[in-house]
C-alpha cells in the first residue's frame, strides 16, 4: 500500500471467509478495452489491477519492489537495463511467464497498431530489446531513464499472456489474460465485467496477508456513472464498494458504522490548475502571481470537500516521496493581487468592475471537461470565478464534453485548465513541464499545458531523469519543482482524489497498486 493511503477499516477484521461475490461500482467511464495497453487511462488501470500484474509495484511504505520481475540492474552508462523475470508463474491461459513473454508485451505496447498512449510513452526510451534467456530480458535505451522501474509498476505496462496478445485486438480487449488473482469471465457492455477467482494464483512475493488464491469467488465490476445513484446503491446494499465517492457522501458515510472509507490519492502530479503562459495575459508573470493571490482556494476546498481533500502546494502528489511543497507562495491575498495587477498595467475598471488594459478586459478562458471533473471540483472552479471577480478578473468557465475540451486545448484557446496526470514517480514533471512537451503529438495532444519553455528547467529535468545518483535526483527534482512553483505556472489544489466507500461487510480493504488502484486479493466478504 503506498503511503498516504488511509483506510478507516479499524480494528480487527476477524477471520477470513472464503467465497462470495464482490460487487464493485465504478463511476468512471466504461473502458472501451479491458486491456490497459490499448489507450491507457485510469478506469482501465482500476479494473485491470484485478487480473493483470506488473513487473514492479510499491509496498505499503511506498517503496518500489519487484513483483513479476525478480530483479533489475542498469549499466554504468545507464543505457542498458537488464530485467530478470520471476520463475514459476503462469498466465491464466496456461502460458508460462518468461522473458520472451515480457518482450512480447513491450513490443505490443510499442506497436502503433495497439494504439497505446500511456504505456507507449512510459517505454518511449527503449531502443531495442532481447530475451537473453528464459528469465533475462535486456533492454537498450536511447537515453538513460531512471524512472523506468517506476514505469514498470504501472498497470498500463502490465504483463499479459503473449498467446492471448496474438488474438485480434477485439478479442484481447474483451478478455485480457494475465497473472492476477482474478480472471475476466465475461463483459456485458454498459453493465458489468464479471471476474472469477484464479484458482491457480501464485503470489509473486511473500508478504501479503495470505498465500494461495483470493478469498472472493468473483467480482462483478459494474459501471454506475451517476454519483448519487452509485452511493444510493451502496446504501441499499446493491453494491459492496464504490469509487469516485463524492465528498458529501464521504462526509455522511464516515459518520455511519455501516459504510467505510478508503482514501488512496493517486501518484504523479497533484490536481492543479495550469496557467497558460504562452499568451496574454498570463505571459506576464505578475498577472499569474496576481491571479494566484486573488483566489481563495482553501475556504472553498474546506467547504466543498468536507475535509476529505487536503490542500496541496506542490506539483506532485503527496504520495510521491520527492514531492516539494511551498505553501507560502499560494496565500489568499487580494490586496497583493491588486497591487500586482496595477503594476502590470491592469489598473482601469469597466462597468462590470473588471480590470481593463488598453481597452481589453482581464478575462480568462477556462475550459472544463465535464467527464474529467467531479461536481465538487466544478463548484470549486465556480467559487474561484467568484473570488477572482472581486479582484476584477473575469473567469469564463466553458463546460465541454471531452472531445470539445481537447479541441480547445489543441487550438490554444485557454488561459486556465485543469488536467490531472497519473504516473508513478517524479518523472511526470518532465512530461508536464519540459519544453519538449509543448510540441504537439500527431493527435494535437501536448502535456505541458502551462506551456513553460525554460531551457534551465529543461536541463534540470533532463539530468534528473537520467542520473543514477538518488540524492542528486531528489535535489534536481526539488529545484525543478521550485522553479515551476515560483514562476507561478500552476495553482496546486489537492491530490488527485481517489476515494472509495465500501460496506463494512467487506473486510481487509486497502491494498493498492502503485497507481493507487485497489486490489482485492486479501479482501473477503463477512457473512
Amino acid at each position: 500500500t503506498p503511503s498516504g493511503t488511509t483506510s478507516d477499516a479499524s480494528s480487527d477484521p476477524g477471520s477470513p471467509v472464503t467465497g462470495g461475490n464482490l460487487v464493485y461500482a465504478s463511476g468512471d467511464a466504461e473502458p472501451s478495452c479491458l486491456d490497459p495497453h490499448v489507450g491507457g487511462n485510469y478506469p482501465q488501470a482500476l479494473v485491470a489491477s484485478q487480473y493483470l500484474e506488473t513487473l514492479y509495484t510499491k509496498d505499503a511504505e511506498g517503496k518500489l519492489i519487484p513483483w513479476l520481475a525478480a530483479d533489475s540492474t542498469v549499466s554504468d552508462d545507464g543505457l542498458t537495463r537488464t530485467v530478470s523475470i520471476r520463475d514459476g508463474i503462469t498466465f491464466t491461459d496456461g502460458t508460462a511467464l518468461d522473458a520472451a513473454a515480457v518482450k512480447a508485451n513491450f513490443e505490443h505496447l510499442l506497436d502503433p497498431k495497439t494504439a497505446s498512449s500511456t504505456g507507449y510513452l512510459a517505454l518511449g526510451k527503449i531502443a531495442s530489446m532481447k530475451a537473453v534467456d528464459a528469465s533475462t530480458l535486456e533492454l537498450k535505451l536511447k537515453t538513460p531513464d531512471n524512472s523506468l522501474l517506476e514505469s514498470f509498476s504501472m498497470p498500463w505496462v502490465a504483463i499479459e499472456s503473449p498467446t492471448a496478445l496474438k488474438r485480434t485486438q477485439e478479442e484481447n480487449c474483451a478478455a485480457p489474460v494475465g497473472t492476477g488473482p482474478f480472471k475476466v469471465q465475461s463483459w456485458k457492455k454498459q453493465y458489468s465485467v464479471q471476474m472469477v477467482r484464479n484458482a491457480d494464483y501464485v503470489l509473486p512475493v511473500a508478504g501479503a496477508a495470505h498465500a494461495g488464491p483470493a478469498y472472493l469467488d468473483s467480482i462483478t465490476w459494474r459501471f454506475i456513472p451517476e454519483a448519487a445513484t452509485r452511493y444510493a446503491a451502496l446504501q441499499a446494499g446493491e453494491v459492496d464498494i464504490i469509487d469516485n465517492a463524492q465528498p458529501d457522501a464521504i462526509a455522511t458515510a464516515v459518520k455511519t458504522s455501516t459504510i467505510k472509507h478508503l482514501d488512496a490519492p493517486r501518484p504523479g502530479a497533484s490536481n492543479r490548475i495550469e496557467l497558460n503562459s504562452s499568451k496574454a495575459p498570463f505571459n506576464d508573470e505578475k498577472v499569474r502571481e496576481a491571479f494566484i493571490h486573488a483566489v481563495n482556494i482553501n475556504a472553498s476546498v474546506d467547504s466543498l470537500f468536507f475535509g476529505s481533500a487536503k490542500r496541496s502546494y506542490s506539483p506532485l502528489s503527496s504520495v510521491e516521496p520527492l514531492a516539494y511543497s511551498e505553501e507560502s507562495l499560494f496565500n489568499y491575498d487580494p490586496t497583493k493581487a491588486g497591487t500586482l495587477l496595477d503594476a502590470a498595467g491592469w489598473s482601469e475598471r469597466d462597468a462590470q468592475g473588471y480590470r481593463v488594459k488598453n481597452g481589453v478586459r482581464l478575462s480568462l478562458t477556462f475550459p472544463v471537461s465535464t467527464s474529467q471533473s467531479i461536481p465538487a471540483e466544478q463548484s470549486l472552479f465556480e467559487q474561484i470565478q467568484a473570488t477572482a471577480k472581486e479582484s476584477g478578473i473575469e473567469v469564463q468557465i466553458n463546460l465541454l464534453d471531452i472531445s470539445s475540451w481537447y479541441g480547445e486545448l489543441f487550438t490554444n484557446s485557454y488561459n486556465l485548465v485543469s488536467a490531472p496526470y497519473t504516473k508513478v514517480g517524479p518523472g511526470v514533471l518532465s512530461i508536464l513541464f519540459h519544453s519538449d512537451s509543448t510540441i504537439p503529438a500527431p493527435s494535437g495532444y501536448f502535456a505541458n499545458l502551462s506551456q513553460v519553455k525554460d531551457p534551465a528547467l529543461d536541463a534540470l529535468l533532463n539530468t534528473a531523469g537520467s542520473t543514477k545518483d538518488e540524492a542528486q535526483r531528489k535535489d534536481l527534482y526539488t529545484q525543478a519543482q521550485k522553479k515551476v512553483l515560483e514562476g507561478y505556472y500552476l495553482l496546486p489544489l489537492y491530490d488527485q482524489q481517489n476515494h472509495f466507500l465500501y460496506s463494512e461487510k467487506l473486510k481487509n480493504v486497502g491494498a493498492t497498486t502503485a497507481v493507487a488502484s485497489p486490489i482485492f486479493f486479501d479482501t473477503w466478504l463477512a457473512n
Partner: protein, 331 residues
C-alpha cells in the same frame, strides 16, 4: 386530441400517401418504400452531419484526442476504416455495406456495430416497451377515473397529468431514488437483473409520458362523452359506465395511438437519461457516449435503428388506428 398531440401524431398526412389504397399489398408496399426512403435519408443526413463535426475520425478510432497516437497509427487507422478515400467514395461504400446489413465497426468499442446494437437493443426495448405499457395503463386509469368522478375528479386528474408531463426525467429519477431506495429501501436504486430493478426506471420513463398521453386521451374521451352518439347511447338506456367503456374509451385510445410515434421518440430520448442514472445498459446511453466519443459508425447505427423503429411503430400505429377506426383507410 390536443393540439400538441396533433403536431406529434402520425405523419401519414405529411407523407402524402393515399389512404385510398384498397389492397393491403399496396399499403404494405407504400410503407416499405417510405421506410426505405426514411432510412436512406437518415443515413445520408447522419453521414454528412457527423463529418461536419470538428475532429479527426481517425483520432476517435485511436481512443480520442487525449490519446497520443503516433502519426503511423493514425494513418493505419485511416486506411483500415477507409477514411483516406474521398468522401463520396466513403459514402457509397458505406451505403453499399449498409444494404448488405453491415453497419461497420464502432470506433470506440472496436466491435461491429451490429453486434453492439444486438447487445444493447434488448434492454432498451424491454425498458421502453414496459414503460409504454405502464404509461398507457396509467393514462387510461387517470383518464377514466377523472372522467368518471365529476368536476373535482377532472380537476385532480388533469392537474396530475399536467404536472407529471412537466417533470424532467432526471429530476424525477433522483427523487424516486431518494424516496424508494434511500429512505424507504423498497427498491434498488440501480437496475439489476431482477424485476425489482426495473421498477424505478420504468416509472421514471412512464410517468411524464402518461401525463402527456392522459391529457390527450382525456380530451378525446371528454369529446366522446359530449358527443351526439354518447347522448343517443344514453337515450337507449346505457349507463354512464357503459358509455365510458363502450364508446369513450375507444375514442380515447385512438388519441393515444396517434401519439405513439411521438412516444417512441420521447422514450428513446428519455432512455438516454434514465439509462445513465439507473446504470442500465442500453441504446440511449450508448448514443450519448457515442456522440461524445465521435463514434460515427455507432451513432449512425443507433440513428438508423431508431429510425427503423420509428417507421415500424408508425406502420403499426397506422394499422392499429385502422383497426380501431375504420374511417381511416376509406375515402
Amino acid at each position: 386530441m390536443s393540439d400538441f398531440a396533433k403536431i406529434q401524431s402520425s405523419p401519414s398526412g405529411v407523407a402524402g400517401t393515399s389512404h385510398g389504397t384498397r389492397s393491403a399489398a399496396r399499403w404494405l408496399l407504400s410503407k416499405i418504400m417510405g421506410g426505405i426512403f426514411v432510412l436512406w435519408a437518415v443515413f445520408t443526413a447522419i453521414f454528412f452531419g457527423l463529418r461536419m463535426i470538428p475532429g479527426d475520425p481517425a483520432q476517435a478510432i485511436m481512443g480520442g484526442p487525449g490519446s497520443q497516437a503516433s502519426a503511423e497509427a493514425l494513418a493505419a487507422a485511416r486506411e483500415q476504416y477507409g477514411l483516406d478515400q474521398p468522401l463520396y467514395v466513403q459514402y457509397f461504400a458505406q451505403l453499399w455495406r449498409l444494404v448488405q446489413g453491415d453497419l461497420g465497426t464502432s470506433y470506440s468499442l472496436k466491435s461491429p456495430v451490429v453486434e453492439v446494437l444486438a447487445e444493447l437493443l434488448p434492454p432498451t426495448l424491454i425498458l421502453a416497451g414496459l414503460a409504454l405499457l405502464v404509461a398507457w395503463a396509467m393514462a387510461l386509469v387517470l383518464a377514466v377515473l377523472s372522467t368518471r368522478s365529476g368536476a373535482v375528479g377532472v380537476a385532480l386528474g388533469s392537474g396530475l397529468e399536467i404536472i407529471s408531463a412537466a417533470v424532467p426525467h432526471f429530476w424525477l429519477a433522483s427523487v424516486l431514488i431518494m424516496l424508494f431506495s434511500t429512505m424507504l429501501g423498497w427498491l434498488p436504486p440501480v437496475s439489476t437483473n431482477t424485476p425489482a430493478g426495473l421498477v424505478l426506471p420504468i416509472i421514471t420513463l412512464a410517468l411524464p409520458l402518461a401525463g402527456f398521453m392522459g391529457q390527450v386521451m382525456r380530451d378525446s374521451m371528454a369529446e366522446a362523452q359530449r358527443s351526439a352518439f354518447a347522448l343517443s347511447a344514453r337515450a337507449r338506456g346505457e349507463s354512464e359506465t357503459g358509455v365510458l367503456l363502450r364508446h369513450s374509451l375507444r375514442h380515447g385510445a385512438l388519441g393515444g395511438i396517434a401519439l405513439s410515434g411521438w412516444a417512441l421518440g420521447s422514450l428513446l430520448s428519455g432512455a438516454v437519461v434514465v439509462e445513465s442514472i439507473f446504470a442500465r445498459p442500453g441504446l440511449g446511453r450508448s448514443l450519448l457516449s457515442a456522440v461524445t466519443a465521435r463514434d460515427i459508425p455507432l451513432v449512425t447505427g443507433v440513428a438508423l435503428f431508431s429510425a427503423a423503429a420509428y417507421v415500424l411503430i408508425m406502420a403499426f400505429s397506422d394499422l392499429a388506428e385502422r383497426l380501431v377506426d375504420p374511417r381511416i383507410g376509406r375515402s
